[in-house]
Symmetry: C2
Subunit: 155 residues, 2 copies
Amino acid sequence: MAEIKYYWEDFTPGEVAQFGAYQVTREEIIEFASEYDPQPMHLDEEAAKKTFIGGLCSSGWHTCAMAMRMMCDHYLLQSAGMGAPGLDDSKWRAPVRPGDILSLNRECLERRASKSRPEMGLTRFRHTMTNQHGEVKMIIEGSMMFARRTPGAEA
Amino acid sequence: MAEIKYYWEDFTPGEVAQFGAYQVTREEIIEFASEYDPQPMHLDEEAAKKTFIGGLCSSGWHTCAMAMRMMCDHYLLQSAGMGAPGLDDSKWRAPVRPGDILSLNRECLERRASKSRPEMGLTRFRHTMTNQHGEVKMIIEGSMMFARRTPGAEA
């Protein structure tokens, strides 16, 4: 396991980080969709052209998964992460297409110590995904749990 | 493409449907995580035992993807679906483990016609995922767009 660099204390409300890039391919879109979301707009270019979305695009869940991979590579694998309770809100703003190069902007919205678990704190993030042309593809907001460097200290 | 059975009019607020099952395997948990969420609790049983979650479990995004596959098989592939704007709320309640057999309960919460697009309506669903022992694993709420059987008619 990677060395732990980031504890709960290391994410400060207002702080912004930018990271990526993730190169989206036709093959990966189709592979994910074949397994988890076999709708025509995610499986086949010709069929996708006839749908409301006008061409092949990734499953929204695949878009989330690609975001997660960028989060892991940039900070989660080096953090004292303790999971996430869920998502507060997520918006799929524009279809993700083959050829898109995705990156993420992470904004730390707030943090709070856990009342019941002194070794843990919660941090709420907004992650905004854009492509190489600055087009916003997805915005997800939610909290993550992290171990505290100094359990139980004054927050 | 499958024949269209379900239009916007066919989902009625208050209606409940139950479907599944999805058999979760160790191999699939590791395969998904290797690609999208390579944290120790999703990759390796021994490493997972040493984490806060006490054993191998699926990535939360993988859990979402498995839910989507069940939705596709049960109704989406036979529906006049026009995508989804995002999720209002999602909660990962309990870890999904190898050996879990997952099913979904779909509750139709509300529906409304689109003001700007007479050919379309929105339907808000809550999907609750449980395993074979009735343990709740995930609850997701959000709207989906569907074509209307009778565009522009009184809703």
